[in-house]
């Protein structure tokens, strides 16, 4: 559905996006994850037809953004971080107006309106003036304006910023429901949000895509099954001595449970069987062993730190990309 090749965007001398290439399929929910200023919004604005890339090209459904920008804009719905709303208008009236300027006729808009109001849970505020709505409802009206013309691609820039926990839960279900009819792109720096809402994640750092894949794929590419949580029985000193002696253990943290010891450890590779053998030989009881999948937060920090260190190592050269 979306293909970006070598996207680069400069603001003066500053490269906000550098050589970003990716493909996104139909009916996917893809998250753009990155720190503030990483280049997420710039990529989304290029995809929405609001910004020209300095180089590279974007196609949406085979349509080139440069060759036919207006045709592409008809196929895209965009919600920036601050919803663009005419505060003096009523919700229904505003959505009708947006549908019309997005190129749909009034019959189409009238048919689409009840469905969009239901999708965005806005039926109860249909006749309310937008200025009187809460922040959460304003965000939902923002999403509604992005989908009123039945776009193939919906782009949501930080859709949950500023929402309270209940509103976040509601917003999550709204975003998931969009997947039935469109490809959805979301940007966020809130890691848990991306994992709970998206099928796939593109990690962006300093304008580059440093990794892509599902959370599990990203975790596997970096961890290789080497992080474990073990529940052990035995004397604390003996356990500590055994783990320190082991050539397979890179690091560990030990805490005392009710009648056991809980150890979080990192192996130097997938040496689970060898470690278990060593512990059993020392007479240490093993009550449990669990592979610990990395939290996306850890993955993200690893990815961005590895990119930074690569940049430092190879001063003057482009940082090595880590791909899942």
């Amino acid at each position: 559905m979306i293909r970006a090749e070598g996207l680069t965007r400069y603001y003066g001398w500053f490269a906000a996006v550098q050589d970003a290439s990716f493909e996104i399929g139909e009916r996917e929910i893809v998250g753009f994850l990155g720190l503030n200023g990483a280049g997420k919004s710039t990529i989304l604005r290029i995809l929405a037809g609001l910004l020209l890339p300095s180089s590279g090209r974007v196609t949406v459904g085979g349509i080139d953004a440069l060759d036919a920008p207006d045709v592409m804009r008809k196929r895209i719905g965009f919600l920036p971080e601050d919803p663009p709303l005419y505060r003096e208008m009523r919700v229904g009236e505003f959505l009708r107006w947006v549908g019309r300027i997005k190129g749909r006729d009034s019959n189409h808009v009238e048919k689409a309106l009840p469905r969009v109001l239901e999708t965005c849970q806005l039926e109860t505020v249909r006749d309310r003036v937008i200025a009187e709505l809460s922040h959460g409802y304003k965000k939902r009206v923002g999403i509604a304006q992005a989908i009123i013309h039945d776009p193939d691609v919906v782009i949501l820039d930080e859709p949950i910023s500023g929402l309270d926990p209940q509103q976040i839960v509601d917003m999550r279900s709204v975003v998931r429901s969009l997947k039935d009819s469109a490809t959805v792109l979301i940007s966020s720096h809130i890691l848990s949000e991306v994992t709970q809402t998206c099928d796939r994640v593109l990690v962006i750092h300093e304008g580059r895509i440093v990794a892509e894949g599902s959370e599990a794929e990203l975790g596997r590419s970096l961890d290789k099954g080497s992080r474990l949580t073990m529940t052990l029985t035995g004397e604390r000193n003996r356990v500590e001595a055994c783990l320190e002696r082991s050539a397979h253990v890179d690091s560990f943290a030990l805490s005392e449970g009710d009648s056991s010891l809980v150890v979080d450890l990192t192996l130097r590779g997938d040496f689970r069987e060898s470690l278990v053998a060593e512990l059993v030989t020392e007479g240490i009881g093993i009550r449990g062993l669990r592979e610990t999948m990395s939290e996306l937060e850890q993955i993200f920090l690893q990815l961005t730190q590895s990119t930074q260190s690569a940049s430092r190592r190879k001063a003057g050269r482009a940082p090595t990309e880590v791909r899942a």
Partner: protein, 241 residues
């Protein structure tokens, strides 16, 4: 055209649903009424035609001032609040957007100008008024409003803040209004050009006296067209940036 009218209808509703349009109209009508009573009618006997001419003189100035306040929000406010993204991300062209904004602002100016009609009507009470002079004067006022609104719209498209837009519009209109004074201190051939640009002295004065000069009609329409074209080009350029 359909899209242009969509923008115009929304903008017109925005003027009418907020206090802004009413405040500008009320302030201008009140000032015009006071000036008409104090100076145009005055306390000395005058010919009706002179009263009407002075009425159009004051109305001309107030039309220019009103256009500053009527257009300052048009595009600059959309840039400030971010609603211009709706237009930028839609298939709407810059000319359709500017055209719609222009129609709405001009409609408000027309309402304002027609609101002054009670003043010449008062002259009927004790005077003898030529309908031709009144219609010609109002036609001239609409032409001035058309040109001034186009200038205001261009400045609103150029500025990122409403205040800057208002200042730039006021400065530009000020130049067009007083250029006949500037012409006195400028040598030819620049003198002829500056003199020709004068909104009032060279072009509007005749309308107030009941005369229509084709040259002046073309002049006001040309100014409006030039500034609307520039506003359209400016928006089209910034759209991708």
């Amino acid at each position: 055209m359909k899209e242009m009218l969509l923008v115009a209808r929304r903008d017109l509703a925005s003027y009418l649903n907020s206090y802004w349009g009413y405040v500008v109209i009320a302030a201008v009508l009140m000032t015009d009424g006071l000036l008409f009573n104090a100076f145009a009618l005055g306390d000395q006997p005058k010919y009706s035609t002179k009263v009407i001419e002075e009425f159009f003189y004051f109305s001309f100035g107030l039309t220019c001032i009103a256009s500053v306040f009527m257009t300052m929000r048009a595009v600059a406010e959309e840039k400030q609040t971010g609603t211009i993204v709706l237009v930028d991300s839609s298939p709407l062209s810059a000319s359709q957007y500017i055209g719609g904004k222009y129609i709405a602002a001009l409609a408000m100016m027309a309402i304002l100008i027609l609101g002054t009609a009670y003043m010449p009507a008062l002259v009927f009470v004790n005077g003898k008024v030529s309908y031709g002079q009144i219609f010609t004067g109002y036609f001239g006022l609409l032409l001035v409003a058309g040109a001034a609104t186009a200038i205001g719209l261009f400045m609103s498209a150029a500025a990122n803040s409403q205040l800057v837009a208002a200042f730039l519009t006021a400065a530009t209109l000020g130049f067009f209004v007083i250029s006949w004074i500037l012409a006195k201190v400028v040598d030819p051939p620049l003198k002829d050009i500056v003199e020709y640009l004068s909104f009032y002295d060279r072009h509007f004065r005749g309308f107030g006296r009941g005369q229509i000069h084709t040259e002046s009609v073309i002049y006001f329409v040309s100014v409006a067209f030039a500034f609307l074209t520039m506003a359209t080009r400016l928006l089209a350029m910034r759209r991708w940036q």
